[in-house]
């Protein structure tokens, strides 16, 4: 490991002992101060976490269920009756919802859900989809990339062919068809966890392609050849020499995979292929489109999910750009 310290200073600064680890974290922190993209991305994601925490403190999960439909602070009252009131629904039943004295800070939506409460449930759900699909995609992608890049031959040709072919087909088409299949197997019901597993089925394409090309470059490095010549087996070379050195790169790709998984999930949900019992950001967009909140002027309903999604994507984008610079030190001078 000592030999490669000169070629890859950040990634291979030893991995033994606690002081070394501390040193590494300190180095990372000092580096981050020079990398504004990582800071900006983290701040944006931090804002979303704060918003989620605020929502969780201010609301209870049951506010995210059907309640009332009104702009902020215009809760149903005797003068302003609850829309659920009708000849079938006695007034008492409708007002039974209202015994909790909690203001709807962001108003409620057409389904009667408190919008802030929906966010406090939906943000973790959306992030969960991204993390599950992103992790599966990155792990599978890394395995395939090393298999293809390191061993080459028929394995490489096969994997490359599959990736090239599948990347030619718009992912959303495949995902739509799989999602419909899955939904029917589950009897018309699909949880957001299942949705994330469906997205994971294609999430490995990007990481496989990008990491494979890095593996090909790294295979030519002298320390990898050295390790091979000194009798290390294939998996040993990969695990001990290549993976640690590619780790920053893999992490950067993970952020990207999470971002594209969330993008895919919101796309599917916006098309009406989501988990209707969840409050994910994509389902909020779907309900907004379905009820035409834009043309009805219900700004308090459609604007928050758009703002949160925009901040989320820009934050992830900045973070992945910053990570890229971190993983690819030669890029640093360019920007």
């Amino acid at each position: 490991m000592a030999t490669n310290a000169t070629t890859e200073p950040l990634a291979s600064r030893g991995s033994t002992g606690a002081s070394d680890a501390l040193h590494r974290v300190g180095g990372l922190w000092r580096y981050m101060k020079r990398n504004p993209s990582i800071i900006a991305g983290s701040v944006m994601l931090g804002i979303i976490v704060l918003f989620w925490a605020f929502g969780t403190l201010m609301t209870s999960p049951k506010d995210a269920k059907d309640l009332a439909f009104a702009p902020p602070n215009k809760r149903p009252s005797l003068q302003n009756p609850h829309p659920c009131y009708s000849s079938e629904n006695p007034r008492e039943l409708c007002f039974a919802y209202d015994d909790i004295e909690r203001p709807h800070l962001l108003g409620t939506d057409r389904l009667g859900k408190d919008i802030l409460a929906s966010f406090s449930q939906g943000i973790p759900q959306t992030v969960m989809i991204g993390l599950i699909a992103g992790s599966v995609g990155t792990v599978v992608g890394t395995l395939l990339a090393f298999g293809a890049g390191y061993y080459g031959g028929v394995l490489d040709a096969t994997i490359r062919f599959i990736v090239d072919t599948l990347q030619t087909i718009p992912g959303i088409l495949i995902l739509i068809i799989i999602t419909i299949a899955w939904r029917d197997v589950g009897g018309g019901e699909m949880t957001f966890i299942q949705l994330s597993l469906i997205i994971a089925m294609l999430a490995w394409l990007g990481p496989t392609r990008v990491i494979r090309s890095q593996v090909l470059v790294m295979k030519q490095r002298s320390y990898v050849e050295m390790a091979r010549l000194s009798g290390m087996s294939g998996p040993e070379v990969i695990l001990k020499e290549m993976v640690p050195n590619l780790m920053p790169f893999i992490v950067a790709n993970f952020v990207l995979a999470v971002s594209s998984a969330i993008l895919a999930s919101i796309g599917l949900e916006a098309l009406g292929l989501g988990d209707f019992s969840s409050n994910t950001l994509g389902m909020m967009i779907y309900h907004n489109i379905w009820y035409g909140s834009l043309v009805n002027g219900w700004w308090w309903w459609w604007s928050p999910p758009i703002i949160v999604i925009v901040i989320l994507f820009i934050g992830l984008f900045m973070l992945s750009r910053g990570m890229d610079e971190w993983a690819n030190p030669r890029l640093r001078r360019r920007f």
């Binding site: 090239d164 739509i176 299949a181 029917d184 796309g267 967009i285 489109i289 834009l294 925009v310 994507f313």
Partner: protein, 326 residues
Amino acid sequence: MFVAVVFVATSFNFFLPRFTGQDPIATRLELLAAEGDTIRAEDYKALIETYNAKFGLDRPLVLQYLTYLSAAVRFDFGNSITKYPVRVSELVNQAMPWSIGLLVTSTLLAFLVGTLGGAVLAWQHGPKAAFELILPPFFLLAAVPYYLLGLILIWLLAFQAKLLPLGGGYAPTTLPDWSDFGFLFEVFKHSLLPALSIVLASIGFWALGMRSMMITMQGEDYMLQAEAKGLTKIRTFFRYAVRNAVLPQTTALALTLPHVVSGAILVERIFGYPGIGRVLYEAITGFDYFVIQGVVYIIVLAIAFAMLVIDVVYPLLDPRISYSSA
């Protein structure tokens, strides 16, 4: 490669919907029932059998697959199940011009503006200040999905300012007449918002790629040489820097095409645009196998074809690559 991609995609396309276990005929009958037709139990069974025979769904899967492949070569996808007796090719033919028109113009526009903007931004001798103010917001927009931007644009320009129509391909009160200038203007007005959301969201992507390429190019020796020769700045910019930096951009254009199409499908849904995305969406919700197959096949074919075109055009841009001599 071209043939392989199309073949794999079409096979995939054939088997995936069939693994769903959904019965398109039953769906169709449910639809009829919902419309008010009452069907007696014994008729129901007979109807299913007749329909299955009519669409060839009762034959073994292998046979269906072979018929499908031979039909795909001839662009014949049979009749739509939910919109019987409309032919799939008819649905596709109606929708295709809308989508191609929207996609080609908006993608090329975004590519040109973004590439040029990115080039100027990286150019040390250019009018940097103005571009440094204008372009960075587009970098951020590149991270936002097209359809979200579309929603914001609908609200700003169609709902608040009432400048442009809310959606659709043309106003529902007009009859399509392609020789009428007023109608053409109407179509243009309706396509402006969806096109704008694609263009605004993708300019940043091209600008970002071009900028980093240009920065690399400026470190090259031939740039220094061009400057030393006393060439005009405009000439060095276009003939030396842009000429070289645009090559990876063109490759990127081929690679991102599927992503652009994915995004455009959702944009069409948001705007109710009468393109291929809407046909696909309606087919998916109605489990219309033949329409799904036809649409996916056409989209894959179009993308593969566009990639082929870019491959063929590439040597014109880059004289170092030529297919004639090995």
